[in-house]
């Protein structure tokens, strides 16, 4: 799948290409002059503290938050004109509350298959096979008929991964896939992403803790105050491998730090994670 010819017959050298990308929200620059090139087959982790702009960066890549300056290209095509959405599998940040209208695990995963279905075309056997396979990869085949709301947060995250998997994309874009997910489910997520990565897919994910994903990561990009401050090979976990030398907080209030917290070398060791 790497360097596969695209629809126009030319070799695709970049999957994602952001040049001088900037995003301004309400007059405040959230992303400033960002350059990011992701090549086929790469597994890229974008790390940074809350509010650093890392989520905005990948939202700009998929077009949910179009850049106000610079350019974004997907598979060599300008993002605004890109239409081959079956090549992109997006996993949004898991939202807490639903609307209350029930939806089964199978139905949510099946909605990922819509990129292959024109309007009014019923599900074909290939669609059903793809849905079953995606559920099997994330280990939720036995929960297909259950309402999504009866699953734990980690399992719900795996459903969202399956929804992206089911369209067989070349590029996976994931926003905080491990947030609020317990260790066993983080491992299940990592296993599923390992499967797609081994199959040659490109993965770009935003996280503030790599955890079990670390062995998969080819490249770590650190975003701080809207700029890419670090771009290194391999996994570079901002949470550090171990955080016991740090005083452990026992209250359960949200972590409120001064702006200077997390600056300097300490940030690389344990920044962000309360």
């Amino acid at each position: 799948m790497t360097a596969a010819p695209d629809a126009h017959g030319a070799d695709v050298e970049t999957v994602v290409e952001v040049l001088g990308g900037g995003v301004v929200l309400g007059g405040r620059p959230v992303l400033r002059d960002v350059d990011l090139v992701v090549r086929p087959g790469e597994f890229v982790a974008v790390v940074g503290a809350n509010g650093s702009g890392k989520s905005t960066l990948i939202r700009a890549v998929v077009g949910l938050r179009p850049v106000t300056s610079g350019s974004v290209r997907l598979f060599g095509t300008d993002q605004q004109r890109f239409s081959d959405w079956r090549r992109v599998g997006y996993v949004p940040q898991r939202s807490g509350a639903g609307s209350g209208v029930p939806a089964s695990v199978w139905e949510v995963v099946a909605s990922g298959r819509l990129v292959h279905r024109s309007v009014l075309r019923p599900l074909r056997r290939a669609d059903r096979t793809a849905i079953d396979e995606a559920l099997a990869v994330v280990g939720l085949a036995d929960r297909a008929g259950d309402p999504v709301t009866t699953l734990s947060g980690g399992q719900q995250q795996r459903v969202l991964i399956a929804r992206a998997l089911v369209s067989g994309p070349d590029l996976y874009v994931l926003d905080e896939p491990t947030a609020g997910v317990d260790a066993a489910n983080q491992q299940a997520l990592a296993d599923a992403l390992g499967v797609v990565s081994d199959a040659g897919a490109t993965v770009v994910l935003v996280t503030h803790e790599l955890g079990p994903l670390a062995p998969l990561v080819d490249r770590t990009i650190t975003v701080r105050e809207g700029r890419i401050t670090d771009d290194v090979a391999g996994a570079h976990d901002p949470a550090g491998g171990h955080h016991h030398e740090r005083p452990v907080r026992h209250d359960h209030l949200p972590y409120l730090g001064a702006p200077v917290d997390g600056l300097g070398a300490a940030a690389h060791e344990h920044g962000g994670r309360p």
Binding site: Y90, S104, E107, L120, R163
Partner: protein
């Protein structure tokens, strides 16, 4: 009772009730999923102006209502999309502007308030043959569109951001839902009335989601419940009208509401039973716990889904309640949180 059914006005009313009962909840489910349960009510208010314009100009109030309701629905959607802050205030302006305008125009045109009341609270038994055709055709169109586009509409209303990255035209589908809601409002106004129309769109959905476990099942259940409420309410009103003045519109809504009241305890029980399968059921959290780390050996298992220990989402990770402690899996052991 049987002889009631031999009246032609009753047959027309029954046909209208069947079509409205099936179509209204089908559109309502998308409104509920988009958290716009009151949108139908708002469109109903705007449609009052449409009815009044029809009465004042001597044209069919049904058609003027359709036009004004669709314009109002699109306006609501545009305001929602671009209004951001103050969007609900703008909606309120539209709602009350529509209602006040309708009442004013009716008065100026010299029509009586009781004529307007037919549209406000429904007058299913005075429905004409032309109106029955109008109801049947438009309701059938709504059912075909809403069922045919079910996968797309489900994706767009369930997770708009994902739908956008999947290449679906989210804005166009949102406008489509709004237009379908407007058409449903005008189709149902002769049956339950503009002020109660939203009830027939929303209550069957609220009832169905107590029991159903999937979107598709919610759709079918809501349609059956809507049909049951419309037919049951109409027949009940007709039966009771031998002894008292019972209006069909409010009876239909109250029958639908009764269905919800009956199923609500069942829904509570179902949800509790399902929740037992999930670890996120902690009622009480231990207050202060001493710091320290348990060794893994003390557990005999790894905390995870279905391990029996209540799980609590804690910031970016999950703690498991264990003998009054909060365990956060970390490396080969558990941190105390």
């Amino acid at each position: 009772m049987i002889e009631l059914l031999s009246y032609e006005f009753m047959q027309r009313a029954l046909i209208a009730a069947v079509f409205v009962g099936l179509a209204a909840p089908l559109v309502g489910i998308y409104l509920v999923q988009r958290r716009l349960s009151l949108m139908g009510d708002g469109i109903g208010h705007v449609a009052v102006t449409g009815v009044a314009l029809g009465l004042a100009t001597g044209t069919s109030p049904t058609w003027t209502a359709v036009v004004v309701a669709v314009l109002g629905a699109v306006a609501i959607e545009v305001i929602r999309e671009y209004g951001r802050t103050g969007g609900d205030v703008a909606l309120a302006l539209l709602f009350y502007g529509g209602l006040a305008g309708g009442v004013l125009i009716t008065g100026v045109a010299g029509e009586s308030a009781s004529r307007l009341q037919e549209f406000l609270f429904g007058a299913i038994t005075t429905i004409s043959v032309a109106d029955v055709w109008f109801t049947m055709v438009l309701a059938a169109v709504i059912v075909v569109v809403a069922v045919g586009l079910l996968p797309q509409l489900f994706a767009v209303t369930h997770d708009p951001e994902f739908a956008r990255v999947a290449g679906l035209r989210v804005r166009a589908y949102n406008v489509l839902v709004a237009v379908m809601a407007a058409v449903t409002v005008t189709v149902a106004m002769r049956t339950v009335g503009l002020l109660l129309v939203s009830a027939l769109m929303i209550i069957p959905v609220a009832t169905a989601q107590q029991l159903a476990g999937s979107f598709r099942r919610t759709v079918w259940m809501a349609m059956v419940l809507g049909l049951g409420a419309a037919l049951g309410g109409l027949l009940l009103a007709a039966y009771l009208s031998f002894s008292a003045r019972v209006a069909p519109g409010p009876t239909i809504v109250l029958v639908a509401l009764a269905g919800f009241v009956v199923t609500w305890p069942v829904g509570v029980w179902l949800r509790r039973r399902r929740a037992l399968r999930v670890p996120f059921a902690a009622e009480t959290l231990p207050v202060a716990v001493p710091a320290g780390a348990h060794a893994v050996e003390q557990h005999g298992h790894e905390h995870g889904d279905g391990c029996g220990h209540p799980a609590v989402e804690h910031g970016d990770h999950v703690d498991y309640l264990h003998d009054g402690h909060r365990h956060a899996p970390h490396g080969g052991h558990y941190d105390e949180h």
